[in-house]
């Protein structure tokens, strides 16, 4: 599904990704974790082609993404902060994205799920953070793509919407899709993730299941296990 080989990325003098290699076979939920500034978003943006790597290769669905844009047809991406053009109406934004992607979509169902019917004629600039995030979710999940990338999907959501989001993610997983999630909420990871990819200083520090992680760090609690990795490395 996704194969990354010795990926390097520098922003100015700041080496964000160094010799990162990752192979995601496909099917299931992968949580991309790591402390702030460990390169999670850069990794995701590299996969999406928004960040151009200095070195290394990335292929999605067995095709190199270099000088390629069509592969994004197979990816649904939820950006971290839902900042949309302010003077566009919700309805217009949805129509625009549909027009640009030219793909079958199921936005009506999702609008109902998140209760956005009354917001359709409102301008995006006037929406609250949580509502924007719901619009963001609709835009992401309305297409049927084999790869879904969610950057901090829980931001700003109320508990009821959070439950709906989880259901939605599990539903998509049931269809055999690959779902990449970054988040800082460990409870969410523990509940949802099949596998964990832990980034540290621009490289993959750990990749495996939650059980493996707890065994490795000799912790019984997931949150502590995650904390333990960070501490181990700062000691080292």
């Amino acid at each position: 599904m996704i194969r990354i080989e010795n990926l390097h990325k520098k922003f100015g003098k700041n080496q964000v990704l160094s010799d990162l290699g990752l192979d995601i076979k496909g099917g299931g939920i992968f949580a991309v974790l790591g402390p702030n500034g460990s390169g999670k978003t850069t990794l995701i943006k590299s996969i999406l082609g928004m960040v151009v790597p200095n070195k290394g290769s990335i292929s999605v669905l067995d095709k190199s993404i270099k000088k390629n844009w069509k592969y994004r047809q197979e990816i649904d991406y939820l950006p971290q902060i839902a900042n949309f053009p302010g003077n566009l109406k919700v309805k217009e934004l949805i129509r625009m994205i549909k027009d640009l992607r030219q793909k079958e979509s199921k936005e009506d169902e999702l609008i109902k799920t998140f209760g956005l019917e009354t917001f359709l004629d409102k301008k995006l600039g006037t929406l609250s953070g949580g509502t924007k995030q719901k619009v963001n979710l609709v835009l992401t999940f309305m297409f049927d793509s084999p790869l879904i990338i969610l950057d901090e999907p829980t931001t700003g959501l109320d508990p009821a919407s959070l439950i709906k989001l989880k259901e939605l993610i599990l539903q998509e997983k049931g269809k055999g899709k690959t779902i990449l999630i970054t988040t800082h909420i460990m409870q969410f990871v523990e509940e949802m993730a099949d596998e964990i990819v832990y980034l540290l200083e621009g490289d993959i520090y750990f990749k495996g299941s939650i059980q493996q992680l707890m065994a490795n760090t000799q912790q019984t609690d997931f949150e502590h296990a995650i904390a333990a990795i960070s501490i181990q490395t700062t000691d080292a």
Binding site: F11, L48, M50, V52, R72, F84, P85, M96, R101
Partner: protein
């Protein structure tokens, strides 16, 4: 690959459409349009003469169009950052995104200019007048200046993450080409008085789209003797038709080069 080319062109037109609509909805397009509308009416009313109005208009357009295009271009680029990021995650070619946005901005500015000035002149009886060619040339030059300076503004904005810096450079660019350049040019003519300066001044004019536009219009209006050294040289060197052709090709080059660099830069930028 013709199919790929077709696809990316269709994508670009879509982006153009959305940027254009977005701008048409913003207040500034109307302000810009109404400004030219008012300017056109006032000039015609005061001058009571189409040809004279065209000359006055030229002096305004040559300074103002670059300024507005530069500021508007930079502002639009920074303000549509979110829109751009949304588009980048979609299956779209990068060059389609940026060229589409650029053409949307330049297109709406050109439309405000052409409609704003065109309306009063048409109402005044432009089609029955001899000034129609001079006036059309004025609008064409105005359109070129819009295309050139919007492209330059996009170039500055894409190379500068910092908004304040970007704005600063954009204003400096305008100031340099509209004011300082002419000053330096005149200064050099005085300093090197003793030497033959014909080819130098010719080249110097080519390298400034504002001077170039001015020369172009003056040659057409056939009053080059009235307004300065540049026009006179152009006239004696080329005769009117060749001068016109060379000036227009230079304007085309001035448009294509920044657009090319914009496409080049857009492929390599991180978001």
């Amino acid at each position: 690959m013709p199919l790929r080319l077709y696809q990316s062109r269709r994508q670009m037109l879509k982006i153009l459409k959305y940027s254009f609509y977005d701008l048409m909805r913003s207040r500034w397009s109307y302000v810009y349009f109404l400004f030219y509308l008012a300017l056109g009416f006032v000039l015609l009313f005061l001058n009571n003469d189409l040809s004279k109005a065209v000359i006055t208009l030229m002096n305004v357009i040559i300074v103002l169009v670059p300024l507005i295009s530069t500021i508007f271009g930079v502002m639009y680029f920074y303000n549509s950052k979110e829109f751009t990021e949304l588009l980048l995650a979609q299956p779209l070619k990068r060059t389609s995104i940026f060229l589409g946005q650029y053409l949307g901005v330049a297109g709406s500015l050109t439309m405000s200019l052409v409609l704003g000035l065109g309306l009063p002149f048409v109402l005044y009886g432009l089609f029955k007048s001899d000034a129609i060619w001079d006036f059309s040339l004025l609008l064409i030059t105005g359109a070129f200046l819009t295309l050139i300076f919007t492209a330059l503004a996009f170039n500055i904005a894409i190379s500068n993450e910092n908004k304040i810096k970007g704005f600063g450079y954009a204003v400096l660019l305008w100031l340099f080409l509209a004011v300082i350049y002419d000053g330096l040019f005149l200064l050099s003519l005085i300093v090197f008085e003793e030497y033959p300066l014909d080819s130098f001044s010719l080249a110097a004019t080519m390298f400034n789209p504002i001077d170039l536009s001015r020369t172009l219009i003056l040659l057409k209006l056939d009053i080059s003797a009235l307004l300065g050294y540049t026009g006179a040289i152009f006239k004696s060197f080329f005769g009117t038709n060749l001068g016109l052709m060379i000036s227009i090709s230079m304007l085309v080059l001035w448009t294509i080069l920044p657009i090319w660099r914009l496409a080049y830069k857009s492929k390599r930028k991180d978001f």
